[in-house]
Symmetry: C2
Subunit: 337 residues, 2 copies
């Protein structure tokens, strides 16, 4: 798998042109392409261009409807419930976080629950969206069943990613994590290299923990992070997402086979409106400085969630973004190149 190095603008333009061919209006193609391209720009390669062919496939299958935007189902002051109408997941999520930001600017707190939407690709994008608007942002999504519950021998829970973002001058804190200890994509890479996982990442056919990615992939039994704790948190996020949105829960999504029609929640706090500005920046710096200065084991480094993004982004903007050559050539063919 060799990489090409492509400028950000060219990645975005290329994806945009393809989306227009797939029936997107120019504005929507631009934003959708930008969200994909920004994902690679920030170094999150698992959810950017590498996913784009699957995204196109889902459009062709009719799971993702290019023209559909969310429609408002109910509103109670700072809380709004929207139907995603199976529109593109990243556009729907961007819209929903945008509404949560607006509501928080008006009321202090804003919450948007979104039903019948699609995979939001990189969840961290919407955390960044919140902090760029000066807000504390929290969002989570359910998924199809892809992880067993504690003691379970079949995938029944979603890995239900959770994003929490806290504004900060320079480098915000953006936690973006799924409820499985390792992503299936990561485990596939270890398996292809013939390597063990660095930590236990799932179960074998007898329910024993294992570091062998091939066994885990075969059984589709990824480990919930924190064992029973991550299983509990995954269940709770699915309940919250489906109850607040009125949309489908993980097991209902699972009945479809392919993963579409998800439920998501977007929650914003506006520190300005909530009168937290007197201490927010100072308190955040003090916590992070204390953490960065703490003692570590040999050859270890303390990392703050999201801290590598700014550096990777700067480098990729300057030098171009590494893009998988095979996928890129496949995408150029869509444009007859």
């Amino acid at each position: 798998m060799s990489d090409l190095i492509i400028p950000f603008f060219e990645v975005q333009q290329t994806l945009q042109s393809i989306l227009i061919q797939y029936g997107f209006s120019e504005d929507r193609a631009k934003l959708c392409a930008e969200l994909f391209a920004k994902t690679d720009l920030d170094g999150v390669r698992s959810h950017g261009v590498n996913r784009f062919p699957l995204f196109l496939d889902f459009i062709q299958k009719g799971y993702v409807k290019p023209d559909n935007s969310p429609s408002l189902k109910s509103k109670t002051a700072m809380f709004e419930r929207w139907d995603g109408n199976l529109g593109p997941g990243n556009l729907n999520a961007h819209f929903a976080m945008g509404r949560a930001i607006e509501l928080s600017k008006e009321f202090g707190i804003g919450c948007v629950a979104l039903a019948h939407t699609n995979h939001w690709m990189r969840g961290g994008n919407f955390g960044w969206q919140a902090v760029e608007a000066g807000c504390i942002g929290i969002c989570f999504t359910n998924t199809k069943p892809n992880m067993p519950t504690w003691g379970g021998s079949e995938p029944i829970l979603g890995n239900n990613p959770l994003v929490v973002a806290i504004p900060r001058e320079g480098s915000p804190v953006v936690l973006d994590m799924a409820m499985s200890q390792f992503a299936y994509g990561q485990m596939t890479i270890y398996a292809q290299k013939g390597q063990e996982l660095p930590y236990e990442g799932g179960f074998d056919e007898n329910g024993n923990l294992t570091k062998d990615p091939t066994t885990i992939l075969k059984n589709h039994l990824a480990l919930p992070m924190g064992l029973w704790k991550g299983a509990g948190l995954s269940l709770i996020l699915d309940l919250l997402a489906s109850i607040l949105s009125g949309g489908d829960s993980t097991h209902e999504i699972g009945k479809r086979g392919d993963e579409f029609g998800l439920s998501q929640v977007f929650l914003c706090f506006d520190p300005d409106k909530l009168e937290l500005m007197d201490w927010m920046a100072e308190k955040t710096e003090s916590v992070l400085e204390n953490l960065k200065n703490s003692a570590v084991f040999e050859s270890e480094v303390v990392r703050i969630p999201g801290e590598k993004v700014i550096e990777i982004r700067r480098s990729n903007l300057e030098n171009g973004i590494p893009i998988n050559e095979i996928i890129w050539k496949k995408l150029l063919k869509e444009l007859g190149k």
Copy 2:
């Protein structure tokens, strides 16, 4: 350690009488004692009567001020910031969740951030408080530093318990979990029995994961649940709690040595006001039924967070509550018995 079996009413009355001796007004003594007694009633022995002697010690040291109630610092519609004034942690938390419930009944969502409060003892109590009022409740607290960050060789993060509770006829779903894989109390019990932990629960002096509770206790290096993921979540909860409340973060609390003056957040959603009642019960049942009917490995059982509580509560109400004999006799001495 043998147990006595004491009726709920007697446990509550005894604790109440002691609290009155320690300067509590009758009303506050009653509620504070009830929150302790309910904790044992529900089978959460680590945070009930077993903690009561330490609670009394903290009153005597002046960390916990029996008479102090929260005072309002700022209000933005559905968001209120209160100062706990170092009052008893369980009374303060009960008050704060009560306000969050009231705010959610008025606005749909209610949020209370509480600074300078004390250990809330069993966090699950406040999840139950929310669901008994028909609300979805979320709350979390920071703690003193008691867990390393990922790669870290000293306790620098709190185990920052998180509670999420979803109303349900009969047995609500109440997730109550700290960010460490095992509690120090649990690990102490394994160590006393000379047993290994069932899973890796912390680090040895070289930073390697270990199941040996004695080593972990000696190093004070409990494992963040989900490895780097729990470390990230702990950091984020501390930032949210201290920013939203304007109170102290884990590292500031750590400077005091003993654990007092914590920061907490209480968030409620009122499903009635938010117009979620048409599907909430049915959706919750469908998710839980699907989970309970899923395939498990031999001798495993699927558990729903909080499901054992109703059964334990019923049994303890009927038969009396198991209470540690040594601690009980110590408490009776406080009353000159």
